[in-house]
Every structure is written in structure tokens, then in C-alpha cells.
């Protein structure tokens, strides 16, 4: 007979067991009678010899292999029955659990999609990204062209591909538009393992200056510009004033970080910087060969870096090369925020579990009589523990099911609500990993809140329990209840304190001065018509006429050009010194350099501290001049009185440049990040003095800054229309008001604050419900005692004080434990949140006050109720 058959023939087996034992007893009786005992005597002795029939039957059932399954089914049915009999408890518990598990599942779903899922390329774990690192700058993404080529040539344990950003204007066929793109090495797609949907990847001979222009486009771009996108392969595309032949179309599933619609061969352009070993602007990705570990790959990379350092000490002496997983690169710094939120949400779930544990315990105590009865009827300790755990598992799984349903509804809005764009957002959905996680969390929750009550099973004191039932409660139960309350308060305090610290940080950061007038200031990138990109003179004229047209637009107060916009991505860092340098790499000071037109100061309203700003008379051919910020002035000269002094900027100009003015510092790295950033000195130099050979490059990076009379957002469309140019292919894009950029620089802090605020509020609410529930329960158990006290003359006020003293002790202990946790949380937040302010006593004091006030309020209600006890009724109740 298999165990399955045994399970289904349970009824029959039970009756056979009865019959077998009965036979034994009767047989024994007959023997005893035959030996001369009276029937009564025989009956008694036979039964005594065998022992308790129910206990034996239990042991026989245990001896069958299917016992646990039978019990599980039975306990599950029993649990559901009791929950249905007392739906109030079950509904509250389910509600709390569903919220807790739902929130945890949402966070895990995001983490799974963004951080844990492998990239959708073959053997994604082999994909790496290469970083440079120096003592001065730490780790950074850029490689120089020659370094990238050398690594590609020398590496045997991994294959290397490279790319740089390369967007531009598509003038036809179809509507002109500005698209983002990449310039890549020919092996870029084959190394990733991404096949073309149609056509082919680049060939090596196409990756050379002078080769025929070819492009690979995304499937969405193909759809936008070609009526039938299957015809696109072989067609021509007017891109950046050249005619490109489309050789391949990518599948829709191809995804990289950020948008990229058009890919061109990297080495077709003759960017002079690509030949320089000190211009590090190339992204390098790599795939480790089969069987090569990260450590082995890194070891080979180290060897190459050492060789380059020996051969090119001027540029590479201090340059280390590092190999990092590509997956982390795509995700960026979002990981720490996500884990922080998961921890916070797990704390809320833990509070929910503790809450339910105290509810279950209260129920278990009032069921002590029932449990004692079961022990008397033959149930073993293990059996009862199993039953209690089954009950909580049923509750946990039901809560989990509801939680997953909530998560499925909530995940969409949550991702949409995320500030900025969440990397890999379209890979966030509920899959088997999530379901596994939810089941695990549900069962774990069930275990947490089921375990304590389970081991309260009254095994030693059956007689006592049967006699007094649920009337009095043992000290251990009261202690356990107190521990629950303390734990809840401690956990809630950790969340409250974290929210408080984040709130302080937000207040402090928002009150920082960005360094410029952010109101009514519009910024946008701009792409000139490809037709005007032929000669430097053409480009200068085109930029000037763009400024004139902008100024002529109604609603515009003033306009300027700049290559770097504060608080927006994209920086140019230059070494500087006050004395001539033998070698640029000897520099120990670095500044953010920005080239601007004369009106920039008027547009941004950055304060002028000394000297003057640029004018239209500062031209190419004149003496090279710069304006610096007060930070650099103090850093380099110890004073802001530096007009007329000289600075050496080897990467900008061979001769020293003259400082003609000093302006205020702008918090370029955002309100949260600027004060801690390594490079805070700032240099401005006139756009008019940009040398001819750099005009083509700067024309691809210049942005427009416009001071408007009213809402800058309303100006976007009029400006777009007006600035289209004669051919209709000049493009304003990536528009943002400066207010938006400032707000965005605090996005992640604000978002964390919002969520921590919600979590802390939930935690406080749950803790209050917990305190209220536990105290109501404990006082209801003490009603007879209170009755006696009142009969002996205690006043209502004294009764309230009695109860409150009890809860005050629990709250104090909880806050004490919570303080320790809050200090740990402060350390964690400080490490993970940019611009986090150090923990302050004031924040903690305020949060302690909030917690105390609400917790005492929650305990006052049961205390007051107890004080209304009618002594006569209370005494009669016992």
C-alpha cells in the first residue's frame, strides 16, 4: 500500500485500529477471567495493562508515514473554521498582513527587475565595463582612444568594444528630428551578442576615416522614417548633413541604458581628441572569454595598465584600470536607494507580524482551556505546536495572496511615480521569482507570529489550565505581550527617526543657495542645421543668429549660450595651476570649465564679486581671458581680489590666461552633492575665444539659456517653432527649467523622505494599534483585580495611573532599544544618501515626543475604560 493509498483509506484504517485494540483488550479479559478473575476485575486490569487507548492510537497514527499530511489537511480545515467563526480577528490580521506583504513585494519586484535580473544578452555575466582610476579622481568611466586600442590589442582573456555618445539631426526622409545615438566599434553588437533584426552589423573596413557613411538604426526609428520599415535596409538617411546608408535594423528588444536610435562606426569621425592619451571620453565594454574569471580578467588588465604606465608615464603613470560588471553600470546609483526602501518596508512588515503575534497570543491564551483539553485527550506537544503553526501559515499565505494581488495593482503606479526614470523600468513585472519571494515572506511572517503562541501550549499544567481556563494569565504571557509592545515601539522609532533625519536633510538642502536665480530660467540643448556645420565661420554665424532670433521672441528677456548647464549632466574638467606646469598630468587642482557668451551672467543672475564679465569685444585673437568663481580664487590665491592675475590652463591654452572677474559659486553638482564633491572650482571662458579647430566639437554640445518674463514652460513651443531655421532642421531639445533641474537634484532624497514618511506613519499606526490591543487585553484580564482595588477604595484616577505606569515602562524600554537602532540607521543613511545631514539630538527628541504622545494616547483609552469598572460586577465575574 502506498502512502497515497493510505491517505485515502484513512477512515478504514481508523476503524481497523479501533477494532485491533478492542480485540486485544477483550482477549486479555477472557484470559484473566479464565484464570479466575471477576469480569469487572478483568475489565479493569486489561485496560490498565494496555494504557490510555487514545495515546496509543496517536502513536500508531504517528507510526504511519502520512501523519503530517493528514494533520496538515485537518489543521488547515480547522484553522479556516475558527477564522470564520471569529472573522473580526482574521480580517484585521489579513488586512495588516496584506499591506505589509504587498509593500514588501512591490519593493522586491522593483529590485528584481532593476538589480537582480540578468541582462537580456547571452551569457550576461561575462559582460563587463572597464573603468579608469587615478588617485586624484578615484574611479571614472572614460578611456582615451589610444588606451582603448592598446587594451583591445593586448587582451587575450577578454574581448573589448568601445562606444561614445553620438546623437544628431536626421533631416529626412520624413519629419526632421534630433535623435540620440552611439558611435561604436564594429564588434560592439557581436560582443554583446545582439543580432540584427534585419541587415548586418558594421564591417571592419567601415570603421575608418573616409569610409562610406553607414548606420544601424533602432526599429522605432525605422518605423518613424520609413513607410515600410523592412525597406529601410539599403535606404539612405540624411544624418548630420551627410547621407548615411542604413545597413542594419536592431530588434525592438535591444536595450541599453538610455535611449539610442542611431549607431554609426566610431572611427569614421576625425575627432582630434581620439588621438590623445590624456583625453578620456571613450566608454569601453568587455566580454570575458569562456572560463575566464573576473579575477583573471582583472589580472590581465592590471598587466596591460602597468605596461602602459611604463611606456607613457606622462599620461598613464598613475592610471589604474578596473573591470566592473556591466549590469551595475546600467543601474547606476539607484541600488542603494532600492535596498534602503526594502529594509524600511521590511521593518513595517516586521511590526505588522509582531502586531499579529500579540493578537494570536491573546487568542491562544483565551484558548488555553481548549488546548489543555486536547492534551488531556492525547495530543502531544509536537502535535499542538504543529497545529498552531498551521493556523499561522494559513493566515500568512492568505495574507500573502492578498498582498501579491495588491502588489500587482500597485507596481505600475509605483514605477510611474518614481522620480526621473528608473533604469530597466520595462523589465519590472511580477514573475516566478516574485511569487517565490512572496510565498517565502508569507510563511516566514506566519512563523514569526505563530511561534511564540505555539510554545505557550500548556503542557505541564493541564489540570490547572482546565480548572481556571482563560481567566488568569501566567506571568510569562504578560511578559511576552510586553516584549511585543517594546519591539513594535523600537521598530517604529527606527523608522520615525529615519524619516525625521531625512526631513531635516531635505529642509537643510532646500534652503541652500544654488548660486543663481533659478526662476523663469529655461535651458535646452540645441542642434544647428547640419548645413551650417561646414566651416567654423559658418558655425559662429549660425550661433549668433540663433541668439538674435531667441532674443527677438516675445517673452524672452535675455539669452545666452553655454556648453555646461548647472545641475545637468555633462561636465568639462580642466587642470589648472598658478605656476607653469611641465606636464598637464602634474596638475593637482581641477576646475569645472564652461564656455559661455557675454549675456550668461545677466541670464543666470550669478552675482559678480569683482572685476567684469565678458563683452562682445572679447574675441578670438585677443588676449585669452577667463572669469573664475570665488571658490577657485580662495583656493588658488587665498583672496577674491585676483583681477589681473594669471592662471595656467594647459588643456585650454598654451599661454597663461588672465583673470578679468570673479563671480559667485554655483552649486553645479546639485544641492545635495555639491558641498561634498571633489571638484568645486569653476572657470568661465568666452565662447568667442574657442579656437576654430574646436568649433565643430563645441557646436555639438552647446545649450541655450533663456531668461523669460513668465513661466518658462510656456516658452518651449514658441521657441521651438521660431528656431527651426530656413531648412526646418534646427532642433531645440532636452528642455528643462532651472527650477526643475534644482528640484531634480533632490529627487532621490525627496522620494526617500516621502516613502520613509509613509512607512513611519504606518509603523506608528500599527504600533498604536498594537499597544491599544495589548493593553486592552491585559487590563481586561486584570478586571477582577481592579475591581478589588476599587472596592478597597482606589479612585478612577489611581486606576488610570496604574495602567499608564505599566504602558509607560514598555514605551520607555521600546524607545531605548529604538534609539540604538536609530543610530545604526543614521549611519546607514549617511553612507547611502547623498547630502545626508548628521543625526541631531533635536530630531531624535522631536521623534521621541511624537512617539510618546501617540503611544500614551493609545494606552489611555483602555486605562480609562478600566477606571469605569464596576467593582461589584467585576468581583462577581470571578
Amino acid at each position: 500500500m502506498t502512502w497515497l493509498a493510505r491517505l485515502f483509506r484513512r477512515q478504514k484504517m481508523e476503524s481497523q485500529l479501533d477494532k485491533e485494540l478492542l480485540f486485544h483488550i477483550e482477549q486479555h479479559e477472557q484470559d484473566l477471567i479464565a484464570r479466575g478473575a471477576t469480569p469487572e476485575e478483568a475489565h479493569r486490569r486489561a485496560r490498565l495493562a494496555l494504557g490510555g487507548p487514545e495515546q496509543i492510537k496517536e502513536k500508531c497514527r504517528d507510526a504511519r508515514g502520512t501523519r503530517w499530511l493528514e494533520d496538515l489537511a485537518q489543521d488547515t480545515r480547522y484553522a479556516i473554521r475558527t477564522f470564520r467563526k471569529k472573522p473580526g480577528f482574521a480580517i484585521i490580521a489579513l488586512f495588516i498582513l496584506a499591506l505589509g506583504i504587498g509593500a514588501t513585494t512591490v519593493m522586491f519586484t522593483v529590485i528584481n527587475g532593476v538589480l537582480l535580473k540578468p541582462l537580456e544578452f547571452p551569457n550576461p555575466d561575462q559582460l563587463m565595463t572597464l573603468h579608469g582610476s587615478t588617485k586624484e579622481f578615484g574611479e571614472f568611466w572614460g578611456f582615451s582612444g589610444p588606451d582603448a586600442d592598446d587594451v583591445a590589442k593586448d587582451a587575450h582573456s577578454f574581448v573589448v568594444a568601445a562606444w561614445i555618445y553620438g546623437g544628431g539631426t536626421i533631416s529626412g526622409p520624413g519629419e526632421p528630428e534630433y535623435v540620440l545615438g552611439r558611435q561604436v566599434t564594429p564588434n560592439f553588437f557581436s560582443m554583446l551578442g545582439a543580432p540584427m533584426r534585419e541587415g548586418r552589423a558594421f564591417r571592419n573596413e567601415e570603421d575608418k576615416p573616409g569610409a562610406a557613411p553607414v548606420a544601424i538604426i533602432s526599429s522605432t526609428l525605422a518605423r518613424r522614417h520609413f513607410s515600410q520599415d523592412s525597406n529601410a535596409v539599403g535606404a539612405t538617411l540624411a544624418f548630420e548633413g551627410n547621407s548615411y546608408t542604413v545597413v542594419g535594423i536592431l530588434p525592438a528588444s535591444f536595450r541599453l541604458a538610455g535611449n539610442a536610435d542611431i549607431f554609426t562606426p566610431m572611427h569614421q569621425s576625425t575627432d582630434h581628441r581620439a588621438q590623445r592619451r590624456d583625453a578620456r571620453f571613450i566608454h569601453v565594454i568587455a566580454r570575458r572569454n569562456d572560463g575566464v574569471t573576473s579575477a583573471a580578467g582583472q589580472a590581465e588588465l592590471d598587466t596591460i595598465a602597468h605596461r602602459l604606465a611604463r611606456e607613457f608615464p606622462a599620461t598613464n603613470a598613475d592610471l589604474g584600470m578596473l573591470m566592473r560588471p556591466l549590469r551595475l553600470e546600467l543601474v547606476g546609483t539607484i541600488g542603494s536607494t532600492l535596498w534602503l526602501l526594502l529594509i524600511a518596508v521590511a521593518l513595517v512588515l516586521l511590526i505588522a507580524c509582531v502586531n499579529i503575534a500579540s493578537l494570536v497570543l491573546a487568542r491562544a491564551v483565551s484558548r488555553e482551556r481548549e488546548l489543555a483539553m486536547r492534551v488531556a485527550l492525547g495530543a502531544g506537544l509536537g502535535r499542538l505546536v504543529r497545529q498552531c503553526l498551521t493556523e499561522s501559515a494559513v493566515l500568512g499565505l492568505a495574507g500573502g495572496t492578498l498582498g501579491v494581488a495588491l502588489a500587482a495593482i500597485g507596481i505600475g503606479p509605483f514605477v510611474a511615480f518614481w522620480p526621473g526614470s528608473l533604469p530597466r523600468a520595462d523589465e519590472i513585472h511580477i514573475d516566478w521569482r516574485i511569487l517565490l519571494f512572496a510565498v517565502g515572506v508569507s510563511l516566514l511572517s506566519g512563523l514569526i507570529f505563530g511561534l511564540a503562541p505555539a510554545f505557550r501550549v500548556p503542557i505541564q499544567n493541564i489540570e490547572h489550565a482546565l480548572r481556571v481556563g482563560g481567566r488568569t494569565i501566567a506571568g510569562s504571557s504578560r511578559r511576552l505581550h510586553a516584549i511585543f509592545v517594546i519591539a513594535e515601539i523600537a521598530l517604529a522609532f527606527v523608522l520615525l527617526a529615519s524619516a525625521g533625519m531625512l526631513g531635516r536633510t531635505m529642509l537643510k538642502l532646500s534652503s541652500l543657495d544654488p548660486g543663481l536665480n533659478t526662476h523663469n530660467l529655461l535651458t535646452a540643448r540645441f542642434a544647428l542645421s547640419p548645413a551650417s556645420l561646414n566651416t567654423p565661420a559658418q558655425m559662429r554665424t549660425a550661433w549668433q543668429s540663433l541668439l538674435d532670433q531667441t532674443r527677438g521672441t516675445p517673452g524672452v528677456q535675455s539669452a545666452a549660450l553655454a556648453d555646461i548647464i548647472p545641475m545637468r549632466e555633462g561636465e568639462n574638467v580642466l587642470p589648472y595651476s598658478t605656476a607653469p606646469l611641465a606636464n598637464p598630468s602634474d596638475a593637482t587642482s581641477f576646475a569645472l570649465a564652461s564656455t559661455v557668451t557675454p549675456d550668461y551672467l545677466a541670464v543666470t543672475q550669478i552675482p559678480l564679486r569683482a572685476g567684469r564679465f565678458f563683452t562682445d569685444d572679447d574675441k578670438l585673437g585677443g588676449a585669452p581671458i577667463i572669469v573664475i568663481d570665488e571658490n577657485l580664487a580662495r583656493q588658488a590665491f587665498g583672496t577674491t581680489n585676483v583681477v589681473g592675475r594669471r592662471l595656467y590652463l594647459p588643456n585650454l591654452n598654451a599661454e597663461p590666461v588672465t583673470i578679468i572677474g570673479v563671480v559667485g559659486h554655483v552649486r553645479h553638482w546639485g544641492l545635495a552633492g555639491d558641498d561634498q564633491s571633489r571638484i568645486r572650482d569653476q572657470i568661465y571662458y568666452p565662447f568667442a575665444q574657442v579656437p576654430d579647430h574646436l568649433m565643430r566639437f563645441f557646436s555639438s554640445v552647446m545649450s541655450l539659456a533663456v531668461r523669460t518674463h513668465s513661466d518658462p514652460a510656456a516658452m518651449i513651443n514658441p521657441l521651438r517653432q521660431r528656431l527651426r531655421g530656413g531648412a526646418g532642421d534646427q532642433m531645440l531639445y532636452d528642455e528643462a527649467s532651472m527650477d526643475q533641474l534644482v528640484a531634480a537634484s533632490l529627487d532621490s532624497q525627496r522620494f526617500l523622505l516621502l516613502l520613509f514618511g509613509i512607512f513611519a506613519g504606518l509603523a506608528l499606526l500599527l504600533a498604536c494599534i498594537g499597544i491599544y490591543g495589548v493593553l486592552s487585553y491585559l487590563t481586561s484580564q486584570r478586571i477582577p483585580e481592579i475591581g478589588v482595588r476599587m472596592a478597597l477604595g482606589a479612585s478612577a484616577r489611581e486606576v488610570i495611573r496604574l495602567i499608564l505606569r505599566q504602558s509607560l515602562a514598555m514605551i520607555l524600554l521600546g524607545v531605548g532599544v529604538g534609539l540604538l537602532g536609530a543610530f545604526a540607521a543614521a549611519r546607514l543613511l549617511h553612507r547611502l544618501v547623498e547630502g545626508m545631514q548628521p543625526a541631531e539630538p533635536l530630531t531624535f527628541v522631536a521623534m521621541v515626543a511624537v512617539l510618546f504622545a501617540t503611544a500614551l494616547l493609545a494606552s489611555y483609552i483602555p486605562a480609562r475604560r478600566a477606571s469605569h469598572t464596576n467593582p461589584v460586577e467585576a468581583l462577581r465575574q470571578d
Binding site: Q16, L21, I56, C60, R64
Partner: protein, 118 residues
């Protein structure tokens, strides 16, 4: 008549004794209890409370199989008999038990001999 003190069964030996008794022929629970008592001349106290759980355990492990049959007195009872697997298990257990008792008596004899030598 004073009854001789009864020994408790060493852990695990109940199974061996049951297998041995059942090996003699199909037999029901009560008879097994009787025979345990008789054969061991009352020296071994087999707690009747643990007999039935042991029988069910052995049946579950496929060492015993059971049939409902008529007894001599015409009543229905559950008769246990050895399976092929049970026979193997019995032989093995018996052998290991004999080895164990040989070893134990050897050690006991040794210490006695040493004690005698003094």
C-alpha cells in the same frame, strides 16, 4: 511469591523481538504480547502501550504485512506476518545483535578475569 525485578528493554530491541516472534508464523497483536511475556519468562517487560505503535511502524516500513483473519475462537483479528524484506531485516538485526552481545560479554569477561587475577 516475590516477583523477580523486570528489566526494561534496551532501545530498539522491541522491533527485533517482534520480528523474531512473527517469523514463527502469522500472529495477532495480543498473542505477540503474550509470547513476549512467556518466552522471556517475565524477565522482559514489553510495555503493551508501545507494542502497537511498533507493529504499525514495522508495517509502514514494509517489514510486516497484515491480514484480517479468523482466530480459533472465530473472532476477526489482525494477523501479522513477515515480508521478504522483513526476513532480511531480521537476519541482519539478529546477526548484529549477536555480535554486540558477544562483544559485550567478552568485555565483561575480560574485566572479571583481571579482577580475579589480583
Amino acid at each position: 511469591m516475590p516477583t523477580p525485578p523486570k528489566s526494561d528493554l534496551p532501545q530498539g530491541t522491541l522491533d527485533l523481538l517482534i520480528l523474531k516472534i512473527v517469523a514463527l508464523g502469522p500472529v495477532h497483536g495480543y498473542a505477540i504480547a503474550q509470547r513476549l511475556e512467556q518466552v522471556s519468562r517475565g524477565v522482559v517487560q514489553a510495555p503493551e502501550g508501545s507494542l502497537y505503535p511498533a507493529l504499525h511502524r514495522l508495517e509502514n516500513r514494509d517489514l510486516l504485512t497484515a491480514d484480517w483473519k479468523q482466530t480459533d475462537t472465530g473472532r476477526e483479528a489482525k494477523f501479522y506476518k513477515l515480508t521478504r524484506k522483513g526476513r532480511g531485516a531480521l537476519a541482519q538485526e539478529e546477526a548484529s545483535w549477536n555480535r554486540l552481545t558477544d562483544a559485550v560479554s567478552l568485555i565483561l569477561g575480560l574485566s572479571n578475569a583481571e579482577g580475579d587475577a589480583k
